[in-house]
Amino acid sequence: MTETIAFQGLIGLSLAMYLWLISAGLTIIFGVLRILNFAHGSLFMVGAYLAYTFYGQMGLPFGVAILLSLLGTGLLGFVMERGFLSRIYKVDEAYQLLLTFGFILILDDAVKIIWGGVFKIPPIPAFLEGAWPMFGKSFPVYNVFVIAVGLAVAVVLWAVFEKTWWGRIVRATASDREMANAIGVNVPRVFSGVFVLGAMLAALGGAIGIPVRVVAPGIGTAMIIQAFIITVIGGLGNLKGAFLSSLIVGVLSAYGTLFFPVFELFFIFAIMAVVLLVRPQGLFAR
């Protein structure tokens, strides 16, 4: 029994990494731009489809395909931010939500038009195939890869925001955009950069999932809901909180499907509601 619990925890950990990658982007965009990007799940989906095209259809190496997918989704994010969002920063935030909702409708159907409605699963790249024995079962190497990527992104993001000049400028903009503007920070450029970075993080989550998760038109709307849950539990705009709550939700839903599969969904939304009511700043706010 303890072995099952430990093993299921590992499964949950790899699940948590997809959640972390999409929530990280959602969180930094909200933290800096103060926009809750409803279309963030659609960026995750576009990232998955682009990676599928480059890897599964064109046969490029897996790493190259992921890189190209990040670039493509980053470009899409740039167009969304520069072409549309940046023009309505002064409007009521409800309209910003509605605009990103319009993006969902466009991207979800565009994906169906381009790639068709049938779901796709390309093969696992050869060097990531196989499984390691762990806790009396075999743990797929691919899951180890996913965990490694997620942790690496966490370390890199921490280093960028805490240790680099650009990171400091972004944090300054997040805490007071007018003051940042007054001392000479190019705020619009920071906004674009952050949005593109967020889009690429979502795309990375989508792209590394393609051989093991389904690539289908619905994955965007499914992921955005989970990402909302996580960012709410971690605290909107709190990157460390997003990481910790990704771990919690990932592991909990792995156990949830094991112990009480029927009401898993209900409980996760109930947790979200309780956190919003009792601690709207998130569980991990200082």
Binding site: V91, L99, K112, V232
Partner: protein
């Protein structure tokens, strides 16, 4: 209703429109009548949504939850007791109670936190509809919901099983709901809600218990969503979980946005345009949502007050 046009012009026009709606089964075929019911139901749903959004300033993403409570409520009752009055009243009451209880919690927040909270509550209802198999039938839903007769024992029993007859049920109840909302937004209650939207702090200082008023608006919006759901169940004869999903909450949002949030008639016109545009697009392509996405983006970028704002006075 349409600010700049004089009532001398609009009143006969509205009377003509209502008369046309009552004559519709005689002048049009089955499909237009069915479409008219869908439009009326969405109009009721959207009016409730807009009382929250346009008049009170609260953007809810959980209205589909109350729509589903109304639909499942009326379906459960109609499957047990074949009496349309009980079914629809029961569905509306269930949605009203659910909205009141969840509203107590929801109105503790505003802005994005309110939107997130309503999303969570709506999705909790969705997961119940989906997973609570014994009560809701799970993903099969509830099937064979009858269009039971309007029955007052010992007094009358009117069969409304035929589509044309059921149409009059939908029409009369929708018109009543629209009229009630029209009175409501012009009453002191409606004006107070708009004052809260425009300046919460000022209204609070004027001695208005802001939260209580928000709760009233939330409950009424839930009742309207419930009525829409309760009318849909006997129309379609089935109720399935997708009607509770957050993407379903988007329908009143789209209709209201298309019609305009700052006019009373906006959600009604929007509901009409929603189905007409959809009906035209699906003749050419199955991908109709992308066009609604384009419309939403264009409206938000171009004129966020909606199409009806062309006729209305500019909000100050």
């Amino acid at each position: 209703m349409t600010g700049r046009l004089s009532p001398r012009f609009t009143t006969p026009l509205l009377a003509l429109l209502v008369l046309g709606l009552f004559l519709l089964p005689w002048i049009a075929g089955r499909y237009p009548v069915y479409l008219a019911m869908q439009i009326l139901i969405l109009a009721v749903f959207s009016l409730g949504f807009n009382l929250l959004f346009g008049y009170t300033g609260l953007l809810s993403f959980g209205q589909a939850g109350f729509f589903a409570v109304g639909a499942y409520g009326s379906a459960k009752i109609l499957l047990a007791v074949p009496n349309l009055i009980l079914g629809i009243a029961g569905g509306v009451a269930a949605a009203g109670v659910a909205a009141f209880l969840l509203g107590i919690l929801s109105v503790r927040h505003t802005r994005i936190y309110f939107s997130m909270l309503t999303l969570a509550f709506g999705m909790m209802i969705y997961s119940l509809a989906w997973k609570w198999r014994d009560f809701t039938g799970g993903d099969d839903g509830l099937v064979g919901v009858p269009r039971a007769p309007i029955d007052i024992p010992g007094l009358l029993s009117i069969s409304v099983a035929a589509q044309d007859r059921y149409y009059y049920v939908v029409l009369v109840l929708s018109l009543l709901a629209i009229a009630a909302m029209y009175r409501l937004v012009r009453s002191p209650l409606g004006l107070t809600l708009q004052a809260i939207r425009d300046s919460e702090i000022r209204t609070e200082f004027a001695g208005v218990p802001v939260r209580k008023y928000r709760l009233v608006a939330f409950t009424i919006a839930g009742v309207y969503a419930g009525l829409a759901g309760a009318l849909l169940a006997p129309l379609e004869n089935t109720v399935t979980p997708p009607i509770a999903h957050w993407t379903m909450s988007a329908e009143p949002v789209l209709a209201t946005l298309i019609g305009g949030i700052h006019t009373f008639g906006g959600p009604i016109v929007g509901a009409f345009l929603f189905f007409v545009i959809k009906d035209i697009i699906v003749r050419y392509t199955e991908y109709w949502l992308i066009w609604f996405g384009v419309i939403v983006v264009a409206l938000v970028m171009g004129f966020p007050s909606g199409i009806m704002s062309i006729f209305a006075q500019r909000p100050k």
